[in-house]
Structure formats: C-alpha cells, structure tokens
C-alpha cells in the first residue's frame, strides 16, 4: 500500500492550515512528521485518515483516488496523545474491538490479541480495566488496538508525549522494532528532533503548514535543504552566524579571519549565513584547523548525562552540546573550539549551498 498526498491544501475558516503539500509515502515505510505545535501535523494526519477531506488536492492510496472516501471506508488506525480506551472494556476487549467489529472468528481474535499483547508486554494485564493501569500501560493498550488489525496506514499523533521519558525511550525502541516486521505505512508526529532521530525511517519536516523537506531521516539531518529545515531538525538549535566569505577566508566580525575549507572556495564570495551544530563545538581542540574563540558563559544547562552550554561572543551567541556534566559559572570567560571544516553554509534566501562532509576518525574512544 502506498499513500500519495497530491498538492494538498487545507483551509479552515479562511485560515490556511496546510498549503501545497506533496508527499508520497512508500509501502512499509516508517515516516516521522516533525514540526512545532501548530505546524499542521495533526491536520495532515486527519487528512491522511479521511477524517476530513482536503480543501484542495487529491489523496491516492495504491494509485486509487480516495480523496472523498471517509475514514470508515479506509483501512487506517490512529493513536492519539491522550490515552483513549473504552473504559468499560478490559484490556483484552479493548484490543479485540476492531477485530470483533470486522467479525473475525473468536479463535483468530484470541490468537492476534495474544500476539499483540505479548509484543507490547501487557499480556499479564489482559483482564484489567483501563483505569487500573498506569499511563504507559494505557497507551500500550491503545497502541495494541491500533496494531491488532492489519491497517494499511497507522497514524501516531505524538503518542508518547504524556509519558515519562524512560518509558518513552522503551516504547520508542519497541515501536521501531515492531514496524520492522510489518508492511503498513506508519506516520508518527512529533515536535522533538531527537525523537525523529531515534525512530529513524523517513522524516518530513512541516513548518507553518508547508512541507520543507522529506527523505531518509539521517539524510535530512545531515543535509538540510535550507536554514529552516536545519533549525527545525536540531535540538539544541543549530548555531547560525552571519558572515562574509572572500576568496580564501571567512570572517564573522571583520576582525577574526580564518582560512576556509577547500570545498567552500568554489562558492562565489559574498555574505552568507554559516551554520554550526551545537555538538560540533567543543571545550578542547579536536582538529588542527579548529578556531579558538574567547567567549563568556551565559548559562550551562545540564541534562542527566549532557550539558548544553550557552555562551556569548561579542558578535554572536552560541550553544554547545557537550557529552557529560560541565558545571560552568555564569559570566565565566572560557575558550571554545569552533570546527572550521564542519560548517553549513546558507545563502541570503536561506537555501543550503554547502553541507560539511563527516569524516570518521581512527579512534572511537568517547
């Protein structure tokens, strides 16, 4: 089963929610819809499901026009942010409900519910009612109901957003494995770049109702087609610094000049915006051509195992994403190292004109 959204536009009360989206999803593909809140993710999923028809454009399933076909006549399942289950039904009956509706034989139902429950690690909870379950178990039940029938398209609308992050880690890994063995199209909406990376597959970046870029997740991450894609697909956000490229050097502030990478010499001299990933900046030099910058600490934000360091250079702010815990004081002067060979370059329109080539080094010590 393939799903093709052809030049879709959707307007609600005169306000455009989706404009000009053309997206072809391949059979068996896992697709992440990445975008901030109000980017149009839910609207797009509702259109895919057939919960409402688009204002403009066509939707094709396996080449067949289903634009006007309602959700009841499309073979789709949906999992929502909220844990939606039938409160008066046991976990077993919740999961079995789509099969009962489709009038499958009891033995067949029993077998499929058992399989799905085992996959989702809720086989010991089948006799319980939803209100007797934790949030994670409730969402597993809702997922079980979506997965138990052989839907052609399964839509997940930020399904893990209301769960503890440890549970999210676990469920995310399970979901990825689950879909390896299924042949339906999965679409998974999230606001979090790191979730998209963890899920893999393909990613479509949505911004203000428009599709910015679609392709294999790692490729979209490494080769954003413009400044907006690069910004949407990075947390902490990619650092963007305006600067000037001359014949053979780059300057951000007309004071410090540094030699540019050979690959950048083919670009016409002029003003550009340079992007550097927060994870490519460091507190110790990592390559001979790293540029040393004197900066002042704004704030060190610490996650359990990583540090996001906000610093100020006289001409621009920067964010560093460091492994491990680095406790640095506000307003402390420090030196950081800027990788001159890992620059993204965007032209004045915001389109990508250069992406860095990732070189693997000889040592893997962390």
């Amino acid at each position: 089963m393939s799903l093709h959204l052809q030049n879709i536009a959707h307007t609600v009360g005169g306000i455009p929610y989706i404009s000009d989206v053309d997206l072809a999803l391949e059979p068996g593909s896992f697709n992440v819809l990445l975008g901030r809140t109000l980017a149009g993710k839910t609207t797009l999923m509702r259109l895919m499901a057939g919960l409402e028809p688009p204002t403009k454009g066509r939707i094709l399933m396996d080449g067949k026009d289903v634009t006007g076909v309602s959700v009841r006549n499309r073979n789709v399942s949906m999992v929502y942010q909220q844990f939606i289950n039938y409160p008066s039904l046991t976990v077993y009956d919740n999961i079995a409900s789509p099969l009962k509706l489709a009038k499958h034989a009891p033995r067949e139902i029993d077998k499929r519910v058992g399989e799905i429950a085992e996959m989702l690690h809720i086989e010991h909870l089948l006799d319980r009612y939803p209100q007797e379950l934790s949030g994670g178990q409730q969402q597993r039940t809702a997922m079980g109901r979506a997965l138990v029938k052989d839907a052609d398209v399964i839509l997940f609308d930020e399904p893990l957003v209301n769960l503890d992050y440890k549970l999210r880690e676990e469920l995310r890994d399970e979901l990825r494995d689950l879909f390896k063995v299924r042949n339906c199209i999965a679409v998974y909406a999230t606001t979090e770049p790191n979730e998209a990376l963890a899920l893999g597959g393909n990613t479509a970046i949505l911004h203000e109702g428009k599709l910015l870029q679609y392709g294999p997740t790692d490729q979209i991450y490494r080769e954003p087609n413009g400044i907006q894609s690069a910004e949407m697909f990075s947390e902490p956000p990619i650092n963007i610094i305006p600067g000037r490229l001359t014949e053979n050097d780059i300057t951000f502030d007309n004071e410090t000049h540094f030699a540019c990478d050979n690959a950048l010499r083919r670009l016409p001299p002029g003003d550009y915006r340079f992007g550097v990933r927060a994870s490519h900046l460091s507190l110790t030099p990592r390559a001979p051509d790293d540029l040393e910058l004197s900066v002042t600490v704004d704030v060190a934000e610490i996650s359990g195992s990583e540090t996001f360091l906000h610093v100020r250079h006289p001409h621009f702010p920067l964010v560093l994403h460091l492994s491990g815990i680095h406790e640095l004081k506000v307003d402390e002067p420090i030196k950081i190292y800027f990788p001159t060979h890992k620059l993204f370059v965007f032209d004045e329109q915001g389109s990508t004109v250069h992406t860095p080539v990732l070189q693997t080094e000889g040592v893997a010590h962390v």
């Binding site: 956000p237 610490i302 996650s303 506000v330 893997a364 962390v366």
Partner: protein, 366 residues
C-alpha cells in the same frame, strides 16, 4: 526566608497500612535550605506529588513534621504558608490584562496601588512581559501565559518558596530553552527557595543545584547533577538519569576472580579486594554508556563482543552489544570509525560503580 525541613515524614493513603508498600512516602528526613534551587525528580508514582502536596499544605502527612524556619506547619492551610505554586497549566484570569493578572495577588492583600505598580513593573521586566502588560491574557501564547503564572508568584514579597509542578509541560521545545534560562535568572535574582517537581531529568538538572531523586516513596540520592551522573548512589538513579541509562550486570566472586556469568572480568586488585569482603549475593557493577570504551581491534583488557545494533542519533550513536546474553549500550561520538560484527570493549576501572543490595559502595583505593 524559608528553610523547609521534613522530619521523620511518612504518608499513606491506606487506612490500615500493613507494609512499606502501603506508604506513598516512606520515612523521610530532608532539608531544603533557604534560597536553594532544588528539584524533586522521579517517575510517576514515586511519591513526588504526594510530597509536593504535603509541603504546600494540600495534604497533612500521616507521620512526622513539616517545619518552615523551625515552626511546625502541619496544620497550616496552603494560603497561610507563604508558598506560591506554578502548575503544569497556566493559572491566570483570561479576561484580565497581563498587568491586572500580575497585580491580582497584591490587590487581594489590599496592597495600595502605589506599591503594586513598581512591583508589577519590576516582575514584568524580568519576565520580558513589559510590552504585553495591556494585553488581555486570553490572547497570549502558552509560554507567555506560563510566564504570567510565574510572575504572580514573584510579585508577593511574603512568598518565601515557589513550588513548580512540571511548569514547562505545555511549552514548545524550542521555547523551553528560553524559559529554562529565565527560571535560572529569576532564581539568582530573588532569594527564594525554589523546588521544581518533574519526571524529566533535563528539566531537573538544568534548573537545580541539587536534585532529590525519589523512588518508591524515598529519596534515594540528594546530589548535584554531576554526582547523579558520575556516582549514582542507587541503581535506580543510574537507570533513571542519563539517556540511555547505566548498564548493570551481576557479579560473582570466586577464588580471586570476578565473573559475569561465565565471563571472567579483568578487574583491578582494589575491586577484587573489596569484593572479597562482601557477603551479599546481590552484587552488581554499573557503567554508563558514555564510559564504555569501544575499539575496532583487540587491545589489553578488552572483551570481544557481538554488535547487535548501531543507532545513528545525529550528534552521537548508540551501539548495542551483547555480553553473556545480556544487552549493553555504549555511546559513540558522531565521527566514530566503522564497526565490524565483532567489537572490542573495555570497562575502565575508574568509571565503574559497585552496587551491593542496589546501593553504591566505595571501592578500596589503591
């Protein structure tokens, strides 16, 4: 000024508690010092909401005392405790302007207008709400509304502690950065005890100087983000902090050699000496994914293991491998060398932690 002390505190929702499992809070001693930035971190169901409600006065503890600056406040209702609370969802008056929302707690205490105004303007300035003062609250974005909620806690001079209950839940990830920074600024500017309750390690470590990690009704570690990362005091902290969490594996000691299953482990003398003295059967080693060294060829003290999966997460990669039929995770830098099916790993001696009956024990020094 407010120092909050919890003395021999315990709480149960059961009328007739039989065992430790019946307690939501299990016998706890804890001190929150005046002016500290603290977090209360734990998964849902660990008792952190119960503890928060006991501190704020919404709940009277079954046993023990809550002391504010040496005074027992068990029976004082929330409004007499001079504590402000900021909830998950902004609590503001939609029909009032931002100014009137901020002024409300002061006017409610019959503060004269000439004293209301400077305080409202000061707080609005800190929270970057000045341009919005005349706007109706209902027209604000989620992050602006949440800032107004915080502002309502900050205007009152008599507030000595602010309790935050997952205040960034409704905020877009890209904006969370700014609000986290803002919270730190506020803490530095006001000499107020702040306790931030969350299940999210990033929220907790970013905000707090010291974190109380709660697990099954007890604080299992009260430490800095670095301590939680480098020396987790309990296996739960190792698992819960860090993404992915710590790897743990059971250890047997026999005739001067330490074994993981059938696998002898190359451990230094100081570990072996310590192990020789331990009587418990529940002995584990823990190592963070960040600290496992991964080599492409055999070196001294490396173990050959089978690669199971290599997941590209953009800024880094997670290698999953199996050793003695158990799955381990190791974190690799983005530019790691290509790995074959067999990889060679090393557990550096100084990065291991030893756990006896789930609690960390110090290993002998050389």
């Amino acid at each position: 000024m407010s120092e909050i002390v919890l003395k021999s505190l315990a709480h149960t929702y059961s009328a007739n508690p039989q065992s430790a499992e019946d307690y939501a809070i299990r016998h706890m001693e804890h001190v929150w010092h005046q002016g500290g930035a603290y977090a209360l971190l734990g998964p849902s169901g660990c008792g952190k909401s119960t503890l928060l409600n006991i501190i704020s006065g919404l709940l009277a503890p079954t046993e023990g005392d809550v002391m504010f600056d040496g005074h027992r406040v068990n029976e004082l209702p929330p409004e007499e405790r001079n504590i402000a609370q900021v909830f998950q969802f902004p609590v503001i008056y939609d029909t009032m302007t931002v100014y009137d929302n901020l002024a409300f707690p002061l006017r409610n205490m019959n503060t004269p207008e000439y004293r209301v105004k400077p305080k409202v303007l000061e707080v609005a300035d800190i929270l970057d709400l000045t341009p919005l003062l005349s706007r109706k609250a209902k027209n604000l974005t989620a992050d602006e509304k949440q800032k107004v909620s915080m502002g309502r806690g900050l205007v009152r001079d008599d507030v000595t502690a602010i309790l935050f209950d997952e205040p960034l839940t409704v905020i877009d990830p890209q904006l969370k950065w700014k609000l986290r920074r803002k919270l730190k600024e506020i803490h530095e500017r006001f000499n107020i005890t702040m306790i931030y309750v969350t299940h999210d390690q990033l929220e907790a470590s970013t905000f707090a100087d010291k974190i109380a990690v709660m697990y099954e009704g007890q604080v299992v570690q009260f430490g800095t983000p670095r301590e939680l990362f480098e020396t987790p005091a309990h296996t739960f902290v190792g698992y819960f902090i860090g993404s992915p969490g710590m790897n743990f594996f059971a250890l047997n000691y026999a005739q001067g050699t330490a074994y993981f299953g059938e696998q002898p482990l190359p451990l230094s003398d100081r570990y072996l000496r310590t192990l020789g003295r331990i009587e418990s059967n529940n002995v584990k080693l823990g190592i963070r994914p960040e600290f496992i060294e991964v080599c492409t060829s055999a070196e001294s003290d490396t173990l050959a293991v089978q690669k199971e999966n290599l997941q590209d997460l953009g800024t880094y990669a997670i290698l999953t491998f199996s050793l003695n039929q158990q799955t381990f995770k190791a974190r690799l830098p983005e530019d790691h060398p290509p790995l074959g099916e067999t990889v060679y790993i090393r557990f550096p001696d100084d990065k291991l932690s030893l756990y006896v009956d789930e609690y960390r024990v110090e290993v002998d020094h050389e």
